[in-house]
Structures are given as C-alpha cells and as structure tokens.
Amino acid sequence: MRPLTLEKHPVLGGIVRYSPLLLLAAAWEASSRLGLVNEYALPPLSTVLVAWFQFLKDPSFYYHAGMSLMRAATGLSLAIVLGVTLGISMASFRWVEATFGPIVQMFYPMPKSALIPLTILWFGLGHLSKIFLIFLGCLLPMTLSSFNGARGTDKVLLWSASSLGASRWNRIRDVVFPASLPSIMAGMRTALALAFVLFVSSELIIANEGLGYLIRMTGDGGQYPAMFAVVLTVVSMGFLADRLLIAITHRVLRWRA
C-alpha cells in the first residue's frame, strides 16, 4: 500500500512518476564519468549543466533564444488568425470551400520543411524567411482543424439561433466559433509542435541567429557541453510551451462539462 500513498503525495508522487528520468540522468552522468562512453560524444550531465549556467549569464544566449521565440510566436499567431478565419469561412460559405478546399487538400500532405529553401530565396536569411515558413507550415493544420470543428457544429443549435433571429454573423460568432473551439485548440497543439520543428530546422540549416544556429555553431566549434545545453534548452522549451497550451486549453474550454 505504501507506493500508492506515495503516488498521491504532490511532491513525492511527482518524483516517483518521473523517477525513470532521474535514473536516465544518473546513468548519463555515470557512463560518462566511468569512461564507458567517450567524454566528447557524451559530456557528463554535470558538465552540461555548468555550460548551461554559464549561458544563463551570457546576454547573447537570451538574444538567440528571443530571436527564435519571436519568430515562432509571430508565425504561429498569424497562422492561427488566418487559419481560423479561413477554416470557419470554408465551413460557412460554400464558394469559399469550393475555392480553397482543393488547394488546402493538395498542400496538406506536403512536407513543410521543403519550403525552407524557397523562403530563403524570397526573403533572405533574416527573420522574414523564418516567420513566413512557420506561418505557412502552421496555416494548413489551423485551417483544417477550424474547418472540421466548424463543420461539425450541431445543426440544432444553428436552427435555434436562426429561429431566435440571429444574423449570419451572430451565428458564426456565437455558435459556430465556440462549437469549433475544441477542434481549433487541438489544431493549435499540432501547429505549436510544428512551429518548434520548423524554427529549429530552418535555423540549423541556414541562419545567423537563433537557438538552432547556436546548436550548429557550438557543435561545429567542438564545444559539445554547450551544444548539449542548447539542445536541452530547446527541448525543454518545446515541452513547457506544450504544457502551457494544455493549461490554456483547459481554461478556454472550461464551459464544456
């Protein structure tokens, strides 16, 4: 019975749940310290953490992180606004669906990372190429999830709204939009993950700033503890952003039972 009570404890329960991660961290430290693996190939976790704390004192680290986050956030926000508008319009107006439906369908399966060289061709190496890439990549999942959500709106709700005298615009704003929110939030989770993948990939391939660039630069310079520290930073940022979005989703969808 003891493990059961442990699991319910707010702090100890977390430690029990995440103990495999701690075990892996210990195995990482030990295998490197005991010389089981090459220290260059896998610097000890403690060395990586030291490198990470040094980064925390380094203003250029915040600059690169800020650049990456700004690009991801701008591209993602634009994609959310336009994707939700387009998706709900497609579900509400037949001609919008007839015009954009086939185009969305055609581009949806396309591997978005293929657009990296195109955005560089058009916008060079700076912010604009990355923002545009993230915007384009996230636009399709946002459009499709809003479209699917809006299309699934309960017809009875729409009829009731009409019979109560709601205009078309009122129906979209007060019935269709809330009804599609669960699907929109699910699409946002996909888009968020994609935004991270795209900013890291594009900055790894070619860029002059950003965390992906920093990974590449430290790796090329043989500063492996620093490289591991940046990789861990990116991975934890992706994890935290996802958790934050889940928390927001719960709050936004509170009105659903």
Binding site: R17, Y18, S19, P20, L21, L24, Y40, A41, L42, A98, T99, F100, G101, P102, I103, Q105, M106, F107, P109, M110, P111, K112, S113, A114, L115, I116, P117, L118, I120, L121, W122, R189, L192, A193, F196, V197, V200, S201, L204, I205, G212, I215, R216, G219, Y224, M227, F228, V231, V234, V235, S236, G238, F239, A241, D242, R243
Partner: protein
Amino acid sequence: MARLNVAWLKRLLPIIGLLVIWQAVAASHVTSAFLLPSVVTVAERVWSDIASGTLAGKVGLTLYRALAGFLIATVAGVTVGLSMSILPVVRWFFDPLISVGFPTPKIALLPIFMLWLGLGDETKIAMITFACFFAITTNAYAGALGVERAFIWSAQMLGASRRQILTDIILPAATPQILTGMQIALPVSLISTLVTEMIMGGGGLGGGLLEASRYADSPGVFAAIVEIAAAGAIVINVMFALRKRLLRWHEETQTRDQ
C-alpha cells in the same frame, strides 16, 4: 460516373486557377524570373528530371531513408506501446519519457546523433526513427488500453495464454489506433528525412533541394518542391488506402463505404 467527373473537374478548377495566376504573375515582370520562375520553366525542369532518371534516384534514396526509419519506429513503437499496457514495469519506465518526449522538437537532437553516428545513412535513419517513435507508441498504448475488457476476459476464460491474448486480441483490437499513429508518424518521417538531408547532404530529394538553393538555381528549387509535394501526396495516400484495406473487417470501413 459522369457526375463524378464533373465533381472532380470542379475540385480541380481552383488548382488550375492557381497555376494560371502563377504563370500570369511570372510573365508580368512584377517579380523577377529568379524569385518566381514561370510554370512552364518549372514543368520543363520536372520533366527533364523524370526523363534523365535523376528524380527516380532521388526519390528512391529519400523514400528508403524515410520508410526505413518509419518501419523501425513502427515495430519498436508497437512493441513498447502494447507492452506498456500489460507490463507495469514498462509502463513505469516509458510513461514519463514519452510524456516529456512527445511534444518536444526531436529534430534539435540531430547534431547529437551526428556526433555519435557520423554523417552516413545510419544517422539519418536513427533520427527519423526517433522522431516517429513517440506518435506510434502513444497511439499503440492508447489503442491497447481501449480494448474492451470483455474480449480479454472471454479469451482468458477459454484458456488463452498471455501471449495469445496479446497477439490475437489486443493487437487486432488496437490496430485502428496503431494505424492512426502511423498516419501521424508518416508525414513526420518525410519532414525529418528532408531536414536531415538538407543539413547533412548525402543526396535524396532534400539534398537536391538544398544544392539547387546553394547554386541559386531557382527553377531547380521550385521543381524540387513540386517533386517533394507529389512524392509526399502519393506516400500519404498509399498509407490511407492501406488503412482501408487492413481495416476491411472493422466497422470504420464498413460505415464509410455505405
């Protein structure tokens, strides 16, 4: 049939419209031929890639890498996912790893894989496997948890062994969800393959694309994007058809066909 063709034509119209606009903008000198080569130029390039056989070589290399990683991830993911549903130790170990690993950008680990495995195909395939593993595992696990308990109890009552319950009850019942995981992982495998090829070189569609962009060969960049989009659409539709075929016995396919 005739009505179907009309519907098809209507779906094609916006795409033809898009091509017409592209051609008109390219011809109008609003932009340069470098920023937007004409549809005809790009089509000619795609055609010459097909005729010379270079496209087949690139597609073959990219698909080999993508599918190798995807298939290894499927075997590993299904094994781990199903084991998590019946063995508490496996669940204890993998649950936190997956909940942390699932939402993170796996591609950021590519430089670490390069450090460990070098610059060859092993690194690419390992990266693709790692990127695909999480989606397949979570779906296999969820699918196995969703198996109706009564099926398992009935099999136990009829004397089925643990192994038989796994292969004859849990695996088939979890198949729809496993296929969903595979459908999520397949585009991930293509995206990861392209990025690894663009970063590490070594040919393939991604290698060709980056080379065209390095030489500022803009028709080459556009042609490569068209080729990649086509290859992606084919692979994903084959997977969709495979799902329908594998799930012929399942109510999902039967209701959809009616």
